[in-house]
Protein backbone atom coordinates (compact mmCIF):
# COMPACT_ATOMS: atom_id res chain seq x y z
CA UNK A 1 0.00 0.00 0.00
CA UNK A 2 1.31 3.42 -0.96
CA UNK A 3 2.31 5.82 1.81
CA UNK A 4 1.56 8.87 -0.36
CA UNK A 5 -1.86 10.24 0.57
CA UNK A 6 -3.11 11.77 -2.65
CA UNK A 7 -6.73 10.67 -2.67
CA UNK A 8 -9.09 13.53 -1.76
CA UNK A 9 -10.59 11.47 1.08
CA UNK A 10 -7.41 12.17 3.04
CA UNK A 11 -8.39 15.86 3.06
CA UNK A 12 -11.72 15.08 4.69
CA UNK A 13 -11.77 16.77 8.08
CA UNK A 14 -13.36 14.60 10.74
CA UNK A 15 -14.34 17.68 12.75
CA UNK A 16 -16.36 18.99 9.82
CA UNK A 17 -17.93 15.75 8.72
CA UNK A 18 -21.12 16.53 10.62
CA UNK A 19 -23.57 18.62 8.55
CA UNK A 20 -24.42 20.63 11.67
CA UNK A 21 -20.80 21.63 12.32
CA UNK A 22 -20.31 22.21 8.62
CA UNK A 23 -23.34 24.52 8.54
CA UNK A 24 -22.00 26.43 11.54
CA UNK A 25 -18.53 26.99 10.14
CA UNK A 26 -19.86 27.73 6.62
CA UNK A 27 -22.19 30.36 8.06
CA UNK A 28 -19.48 31.93 10.21
CA UNK A 29 -16.98 31.91 7.33
CA UNK A 30 -19.12 34.50 5.52
CA UNK A 31 -19.19 37.02 8.38
CA UNK A 32 -16.72 38.69 10.69
CA UNK A 33 -18.69 37.61 13.72
CA UNK A 34 -22.27 36.81 14.64
CA UNK A 35 -24.21 36.58 17.84
CA UNK A 36 -24.96 33.10 19.19
CA UNK A 37 -28.73 33.62 18.81
CA UNK A 38 -28.39 34.68 15.18
CA UNK A 39 -26.49 31.50 14.32
CA UNK A 40 -28.92 29.40 16.37
CA UNK A 41 -31.97 30.85 14.60
CA UNK A 42 -30.37 30.76 11.16
CA UNK A 43 -29.30 27.13 11.32
CA UNK A 44 -32.41 26.21 13.32
CA UNK A 45 -30.73 24.54 16.26
CA UNK A 46 -31.44 24.41 19.96
CA UNK A 47 -29.19 26.34 22.35
CA UNK A 48 -27.73 23.12 23.74
CA UNK A 49 -26.91 21.56 20.37
CA UNK A 50 -25.30 24.74 19.05
CA UNK A 51 -23.38 25.19 22.28
CA UNK A 52 -22.05 21.63 22.16
CA UNK A 53 -21.02 21.82 18.50
CA UNK A 54 -19.42 25.24 18.94
CA UNK A 55 -17.44 23.95 21.91
CA UNK A 56 -16.10 21.16 19.75
CA UNK A 57 -15.17 23.54 16.93
CA UNK A 58 -13.60 25.90 19.46
CA UNK A 59 -11.52 23.08 20.97
CA UNK A 60 -9.90 22.40 17.58
CA UNK A 61 -9.36 26.11 16.93
CA UNK A 62 -11.90 26.52 14.12
CA UNK A 63 -14.24 28.88 15.94
CA UNK A 64 -13.54 31.68 18.41
CA UNK A 65 -16.05 32.46 21.15
CA UNK A 66 -16.19 35.87 22.81
CA UNK A 67 -18.47 36.64 25.70
CA UNK A 68 -19.45 40.12 26.78
CA UNK A 69 -22.22 42.37 27.99
CA UNK A 70 -24.28 45.05 26.33
CA UNK A 71 -25.79 46.92 29.23
CA UNK A 72 -26.80 44.16 31.62
CA UNK A 73 -27.50 41.60 28.92
CA UNK A 74 -24.89 38.91 28.30
CA UNK A 75 -23.94 38.36 24.68
CA UNK A 76 -21.92 35.58 23.07
CA UNK A 77 -20.18 36.24 19.78
CA UNK A 78 -18.98 33.54 17.42
CA UNK A 79 -16.46 33.88 14.63
CA UNK A 80 -14.58 31.54 12.32
CA UNK A 81 -10.81 31.57 12.77
CA UNK A 82 -8.41 31.59 9.81
CA UNK A 83 -7.66 27.95 10.65
CA UNK A 84 -11.37 27.21 10.49
CA UNK A 85 -11.79 28.99 7.16
CA UNK A 86 -8.90 27.06 5.64
CA UNK A 87 -10.19 23.78 7.06
CA UNK A 88 -13.61 24.48 5.55
CA UNK A 89 -12.12 25.29 2.15
CA UNK A 90 -10.02 22.10 2.19
CA UNK A 91 -12.91 19.96 3.37
CA UNK A 92 -15.36 21.29 0.77
CA UNK A 93 -12.75 20.92 -1.98
CA UNK A 94 -12.23 17.30 -0.94
CA UNK A 95 -15.99 16.65 -0.90
CA UNK A 96 -16.31 18.16 -4.37
CA UNK A 97 -13.41 16.09 -5.67
CA UNK A 98 -14.91 12.89 -4.28
CA UNK A 99 -18.45 13.59 -5.44
CA UNK A 100 -17.45 15.01 -8.81
CA UNK A 101 -19.61 13.28 -11.36
CA UNK A 102 -21.95 11.81 -8.77
CA UNK A 103 -24.51 14.54 -9.30
CA UNK A 104 -23.66 17.00 -6.53
Amino acid sequence: MSTDATHPRHEIDEHLSSPVRLSIIATLAKVEDAEFQVVRDTIELSDSVLSKQVSLLESVGYVAVRKGYVGKRPRTWLSATELGRHALARHVAALRAITDGVGA
Binding site: L22, S23, A34, R96
Partner: protein
Protein backbone atom coordinates in the same frame (compact mmCIF):
# COMPACT_ATOMS: atom_id res chain seq x y z
CA UNK B 1 -7.30 15.58 8.67
CA UNK B 2 -7.80 12.26 6.97
CA UNK B 3 -9.89 9.85 8.86
CA UNK B 4 -10.64 6.62 7.05
CA UNK B 5 -13.50 5.54 9.26
CA UNK B 6 -15.19 8.88 8.80
CA UNK B 7 -14.56 8.93 5.09
CA UNK B 8 -15.78 5.38 4.55
CA UNK B 9 -18.51 4.74 7.06
CA UNK B 10 -18.88 7.91 9.10
CA UNK B 11 -22.61 7.88 8.61
CA UNK B 12 -22.94 11.17 6.78
CA UNK B 13 -23.23 11.28 3.09
CA UNK B 14 -20.76 13.54 1.27
CA UNK B 15 -23.52 15.06 -0.81
CA UNK B 16 -25.41 15.97 2.36
CA UNK B 17 -22.26 17.62 3.63
CA UNK B 18 -21.90 19.63 0.45
CA UNK B 19 -25.52 20.74 0.70
CA UNK B 20 -24.98 21.71 4.34
CA UNK B 21 -21.92 23.75 3.39
CA UNK B 22 -23.78 25.50 0.55
CA UNK B 23 -26.77 26.21 2.75
CA UNK B 24 -24.56 27.50 5.57
CA UNK B 25 -22.71 29.74 3.14
CA UNK B 26 -25.97 31.11 1.81
CA UNK B 27 -27.25 31.82 5.33
CA UNK B 28 -23.93 33.50 6.16
CA UNK B 29 -24.25 35.74 3.12
CA UNK B 30 -27.77 36.74 4.20
CA UNK B 31 -26.49 37.62 7.70
CA UNK B 32 -23.63 39.57 6.16
CA UNK B 33 -25.94 41.62 3.92
CA UNK B 34 -28.21 42.42 6.83
CA UNK B 35 -25.22 43.44 8.96
CA UNK B 36 -23.96 45.64 6.15
CA UNK B 37 -27.19 47.65 6.08
CA UNK B 38 -26.91 48.40 9.79
CA UNK B 39 -23.17 49.14 9.78
CA UNK B 40 -23.61 51.32 6.68
CA UNK B 41 -26.25 53.39 8.43
CA UNK B 42 -24.12 53.65 11.59
CA UNK B 43 -21.04 54.72 9.61
CA UNK B 44 -23.08 57.32 7.70
CA UNK B 45 -24.37 58.76 11.00
CA UNK B 46 -20.81 58.97 12.38
CA UNK B 47 -19.56 60.57 9.14
CA UNK B 48 -22.40 63.11 9.13
CA UNK B 49 -21.77 63.92 12.82
CA UNK B 50 -18.08 64.62 12.23
CA UNK B 51 -18.88 66.69 9.12
CA UNK B 52 -21.48 68.76 10.98
CA UNK B 53 -19.12 69.27 13.88
CA UNK B 54 -16.44 70.50 11.49
CA UNK B 55 -18.92 73.03 10.10
CA UNK B 56 -19.74 74.03 13.67
CA UNK B 57 -16.03 74.57 14.39
CA UNK B 58 -15.78 76.72 11.25
CA UNK B 59 -18.94 78.79 11.71
CA UNK B 60 -19.97 78.64 15.38
CA UNK B 61 -16.69 78.64 17.31
CA UNK B 62 -15.44 81.96 15.83
CA UNK B 63 -18.56 83.72 17.17
CA UNK B 64 -17.08 83.30 20.70
CA UNK B 65 -20.56 82.91 22.15
CA UNK B 66 -19.63 80.66 25.02
CA UNK B 67 -22.98 79.02 25.69
CA UNK B 68 -23.41 78.25 21.99
CA UNK B 69 -19.94 76.74 21.70
CA UNK B 70 -20.56 74.60 24.80
CA UNK B 71 -24.02 73.56 23.59
CA UNK B 72 -22.69 72.52 20.17
CA UNK B 73 -19.80 70.59 21.71
CA UNK B 74 -22.02 68.79 24.22
CA UNK B 75 -24.58 68.03 21.51
CA UNK B 76 -21.84 66.55 19.33
CA UNK B 77 -20.46 64.42 22.17
CA UNK B 78 -23.93 63.16 23.09
CA UNK B 79 -24.74 62.44 19.45
CA UNK B 80 -21.63 60.36 18.88
CA UNK B 81 -22.01 58.52 22.20
CA UNK B 82 -25.69 57.78 21.52
CA UNK B 83 -24.94 56.47 18.03
CA UNK B 84 -22.20 54.17 19.36
CA UNK B 85 -24.37 52.85 22.19
CA UNK B 86 -27.30 52.29 19.84
CA UNK B 87 -25.11 50.40 17.38
CA UNK B 88 -23.61 48.20 20.10
CA UNK B 89 -27.11 47.42 21.34
CA UNK B 90 -28.69 46.49 18.01
CA UNK B 91 -25.73 44.89 16.26
CA UNK B 92 -26.18 41.13 15.81
CA UNK B 93 -23.40 40.41 13.31
CA UNK B 94 -20.70 42.11 11.26
CA UNK B 95 -19.82 41.54 7.66
CA UNK B 96 -16.28 40.39 6.91
CA UNK B 97 -13.56 42.99 7.34
CA UNK B 98 -15.94 45.52 8.94
CA UNK B 99 -13.76 46.34 11.99
CA UNK B 100 -10.64 46.95 9.91
CA UNK B 101 -12.47 48.98 7.26
CA UNK B 102 -14.21 51.07 9.90
CA UNK B 103 -10.96 51.76 11.78
CA UNK B 104 -9.23 52.90 8.57
CA UNK B 105 -12.24 54.93 7.40
CA UNK B 106 -12.70 56.60 10.77
CA UNK B 107 -8.98 57.39 11.04
CA UNK B 108 -9.02 59.02 7.57
CA UNK B 109 -12.12 61.01 8.50
CA UNK B 110 -10.46 62.25 11.69
CA UNK B 111 -7.30 63.19 9.76
CA UNK B 112 -9.42 65.24 7.31
CA UNK B 113 -11.28 66.78 10.24
CA UNK B 114 -7.97 67.74 11.92
CA UNK B 115 -6.71 69.29 8.67
CA UNK B 116 -9.98 71.23 8.44
CA UNK B 117 -9.61 72.51 12.00
CA UNK B 118 -6.00 73.50 11.33
CA UNK B 119 -7.11 75.35 8.19
CA UNK B 120 -9.86 77.26 9.94
CA UNK B 121 -7.53 78.22 12.81
CA UNK B 122 -4.72 79.35 10.52
CA UNK B 123 -6.87 81.14 7.93
CA UNK B 124 -9.94 83.32 7.92
CA UNK B 125 -11.75 81.33 5.29
CA UNK B 126 -15.42 80.91 6.01
CA UNK B 127 -16.71 80.50 2.49
CA UNK B 128 -19.40 77.86 2.16
CA UNK B 129 -18.27 76.84 -1.32
CA UNK B 130 -15.12 75.48 0.28
CA UNK B 131 -16.29 74.23 3.67
CA UNK B 132 -19.47 72.40 2.70
CA UNK B 133 -17.75 70.22 0.07
CA UNK B 134 -14.82 69.76 2.46
CA UNK B 135 -17.19 68.61 5.22
CA UNK B 136 -18.72 66.10 2.79
CA UNK B 137 -15.22 64.93 1.86
CA UNK B 138 -14.46 64.52 5.59
CA UNK B 139 -17.50 62.28 6.05
CA UNK B 140 -16.74 60.20 2.95
CA UNK B 141 -14.09 57.73 4.22
CA UNK B 142 -16.00 56.43 7.23
CA UNK B 143 -19.27 56.37 5.29
CA UNK B 144 -17.65 54.43 2.45
CA UNK B 145 -16.17 51.99 4.98
CA UNK B 146 -19.66 51.16 6.17
CA UNK B 147 -21.10 50.69 2.72
CA UNK B 148 -18.41 48.46 1.26
CA UNK B 149 -19.07 44.73 1.44
CA UNK B 150 -16.32 42.21 1.13
CA UNK B 151 -17.71 39.16 -0.56
CA UNK B 152 -16.47 36.12 1.27
CA UNK B 153 -15.29 33.17 -0.72
Amino acid sequence: MANDSTAQDGGQDFLDQLRAAASGGSHGSDISRSARRLSGFFAAVIGASVALFLLAVVYVYPTHILWLVIAVTVLYGLGIASACLWYLRVRRASNRGWSRRYRIGFALTIVLYAIGVALTVSTDWHTAWFWVPYAILTAAPVTAAGLLLREAR
